[in-house]
């Protein structure tokens, strides 16, 4: 998997700076929209570890996003984000462990179907049982920020910009962490599995275990993004776990390009931008989306990242 080269990194940093400066020139609505894109980018990035990293196409990844979001609801209100964020990651990771252990008994098509089915199972858990407050969704209290032991509840008027910066910071941290991870032995092993799992097995790697670790990490990261979504919108509902959202994230990954770590970030921004543009142009949003995805699959197999200056292979 490509990690952006020097020019690419500069361009990404420039993009980050533009987003960070939005509070000075954009409306609060657009700040919120940008936050949505940032959180989507985190979610797609977590999926990229599976898809681009180890070639595992999961259709149930949204389940962990949802678990992370529901963590905010399940935890007592008024806690600091310093507690709730790790808790969300932990909860999502714990959910990913058995799902991954079972799903990874299979490969390819089966893996896809099985993750889809387990994702739906978790969806039903929140949709049909009282655990998650019902199918209509529930409001949540936003976790507070804690600075030197003092809880700081962000005033309403600054909330959009503070959340934008927090989301941006988390996305950058997640990207940097994943870029570093892909350079470790573990990252190399993942890419080796993507290239040829049997060979890696023959070389003595416990591939299922490596994939399981990746699955759990990806689940935990999806949980973080779910947490941030809940915090941004202060509302959670079972649709967060539905397979449509998993498919959307896959679309973002493909739109951005599976070959590049930064692909999902581009893909998420393109996807959110596309959705927004589509609402302005036509009532038939799905028509526009469907056509764009068709075009991407048919014409742009390397995704948007294929258009950025190439960097070096992270795995070699």
């Amino acid at each position: 998997m490509l990690v952006a080269g020097r020019t690419g990194t500069l361009l990404l940093l420039l993009g980050a700076a533009v987003v960070a400066s939005m509070p000075w020139w954009a409306s609060s609505y657009h700040l919120q929209l940008a936050s949505t894109a940032l959180v989507s980018a985190m979610f797609a990035l977590s999926l990229q570890l599976l898809v681009g990293g180890a070639g595992m196409v999961s259709l149930g990844h949204a389940a962990f996003f949802g678990v992370g979001a529901y963590a905010v609801y399940l935890l007592p209100p008024g806690l600091s984000i310093g507690l709730t964020l790790p808790a969300a990651a932990l909860l999502a990771g714990v959910a990913a462990l058995p799902v991954g252990a079972l799903s990874l008994r299979t490969r390819g098509f089966f893996f896809l179907m099985v993750t889809l089915a387990f994702g739906q199972m978790l969806f039903f858990l929140f949709h049909d049982t009282p655990l998650g407050g019902g199918k209509d969704g529930v409001f949540v209290t936003r976790p507070a920020f804690e600075i030197f032991g003092l809880l700081w509840e962000v005033p309403r008027r600054q909330r959009a910009q503070v959340l934008l910066w927090v989301n941006l910071g988390l996305l950058i941290a997640m990207y940097a962490a994943l870029a570093a991870l892909m350079r470790t032995l573990f990252g190399h092993a993942l890419l080796g599995i993507r290239a040829n799992e049997d060979r890696m097995q023959a070389l003595g790697y416990d591939t299922r275990r490596i994939k399981l670790v990746a699955f759990v990490i990806a689940g935990a990261l999806a949980g973080i993004s779910g947490h941030m979504w809940a915090m941004t919108e202060a509302f959670v509902n079972p649709e967060f776990l539905s397979w449509h959202r998993s498919a959307e994230a896959l679309l973002m990954v493909l739109l951005g390009g599976i070959g590049a770590l930064h692909g999902p970030i581009l893909g998420a921004f393109a996807y959110v931008g596309l959705g927004e543009a589509a609402t302005l142009i036509t009532e038939r949003q799905r028509l526009v989306e469907g056509l764009v995805f068709l075009a991407v699959v048919l014409l742009l197999p390397k995704g948007l990242a294929g258009l950025l200056p190439r960097g070096k292979e992270g795995g070699r």
Binding site: K135, F139, N237
Partner: protein, 396 residues
């Protein structure tokens, strides 16, 4: 819902509202005669599109009847299609309030989507009038000085049905529904109504929303030994359920009844299977009062469609909005006065005049109806001036 999960502490909400009232928000230019931006967030596509269209048409009808001005201002309707999709609800509300700067909101049909509107209203102090969605929470534990309802709570019609059944001598009944909040809340109403009249709910049969494979439920009914079946379904699910109930040979042995949505707007496709099915709702066909006659004629003339309960709810939402605006001379941000205006108003509804309960839900008659020849004829009053209990509502 655990108590700890309340969305906002009362205090912080109060602070917000105060900030809003003090002009912290972009304040509309009332004096300059700028148009009043009314956000209409309704389903204009998807399963509930027809409901959304009727609600919107009735709002327009009322504004037109008032000569295009309410509360001294010229309304500008901003339509936003929520597609009845809860996943996009928060973003859609952000569009409506953030991008399009709606000053008041009317919406919506879907009970999942309406939660996002309630939240936005509570957080931002933008008044909201709910023209359909009946989830009880909106006027119980999530009630708010800025949230009003012109329709019903899910509890109300089913309570009426249960009460009417028990009064007619039914001792044992079961409840069939989709496994979701509206079904459960209606079921509670049905059980409460039965109990109030001396009957008993013996079993709830549920299937996942929106599946229509009713056979596994229907096959259990004969074994339950009940005198009547109550149910909550809507739209196509209701069509299918009523027809399969008849096809299973149950209709002639165990009467089918339900919350009014079971036969609302779907009698055509239900055909003979619906004939004689009794339901309870806050509206019905053949409701004889001058206001209703005038309203139906005007609606028909304007839209070339027959008015239905959704049109009535939309019309009354516009009436409530007008009441609030008149009390504040066109300023929806004057929260307390706006709420007082609506609360003290007697809404001259086609369903019969009603007032609001302390938790902002209509106190209204629930009519008993019987499906006959494609109409839900009103045959009596199931529960008079019924108010939702409003359990857990504490307004600040």
């Amino acid at each position: 819902m655990p108590a700890g999960s309340m969305p906002l502490s009362r205090r912080s909400f109060g602070a917000l509202a105060a900030a809003a009232a003090a002009g912290g928000l972009a304040r509309p230019a009332v004096a300059q005669g700028a148009p009043l931006r009314i956000g209409l967030m309704l389903p204009f596509s998807g399963t509930f599109a027809a409901l959304g269209e009727n609600i919107a048409a009735a709002v327009e009808l009322y504004i037109a009847e008032k000569g295009g001005r309410i509360g001294g201002r010229t309304p500008q309707l901003i339509r936003l299609d929520d597609e009845s999709n809860p996943a996009n609800a928060v973003q859609n509300v952000n569009r409506l309030v953030g991008r399009d700067r709606a000053e008041v909101m009317i919406g919506t049909v879907h009970s999942g989507v309406v939660m996002a509107l309630v939240q936005a209203s509570r957080e931002r102090g933008v008044p909201l009038i709910i023209p359909n969605a009946g989830n009880v929470a909106a006027t119980r534990e999530l009630c708010s000085p800025t949230v009003f309802r012109s329709s019903f709570s899910n509890w109300q019609p089913a309570y009426g049905m249960g009460l009417a059944l028990a009064k007619s001598g039914v001792k044992r009944a079961c409840w069939v529904t989709w496994d979701y909040a509206a079904g459960a809340e209606s079921g509670q109403g049905f059980a409460d109504g039965l109990k109030a009249g001396g009957g008993e709910l013996v079993r709830e049969l549920k299937l996942p929303f929106p599946e229509t494979n009713f056979q596994p439920l229907l096959a259990q009914i004969p074994g339950l030994n009940v005198d009547a079946v109550g149910s909550f379904f809507a739209g196509g699910g209701a069509v299918q359920f009523v027809r399969e109930y008849a096809a299973a040979g149950l209709k002639d042995r165990i009467p089918l009844t339900g919350s009014g949505f079971l036969t609302e707007g779907v009698l055509g496709p239900q055909g003979a299977a619906a004939e004689g099915v009794r339901t309870a709702l806050h509206y019905g066909d053949g409701l004889d009062n001058p206001k209703n006659t005038a309203f139906r004629a005007a609606f028909k003339q304007r839209t070339n469609r027959d008015a239905d309960v959704y049109a009535v709810q939309g019309y009354d939402a516009a009436q409530m909005l007008a009441a609030g605006l008149e009390a504040t001379r066109g300023d929806p941000t004057a929260e307390a006065a706006f709420a007082r205006g609506i609360r003290s108003a007697r809404i001259d509804s086609p369903r019969g005049a009603f007032t609001l309960s302390p938790s902002h839900n209509p106190v209204q008659n629930i009519y008993l109806r019987e499906a006959r020849g494609g109409e839900n004829r009103v045959i009596g009053v199931a529960a008079e001036a019924l108010a939702d209990p409003g359990t857990g509502c504490r307004m600040t």
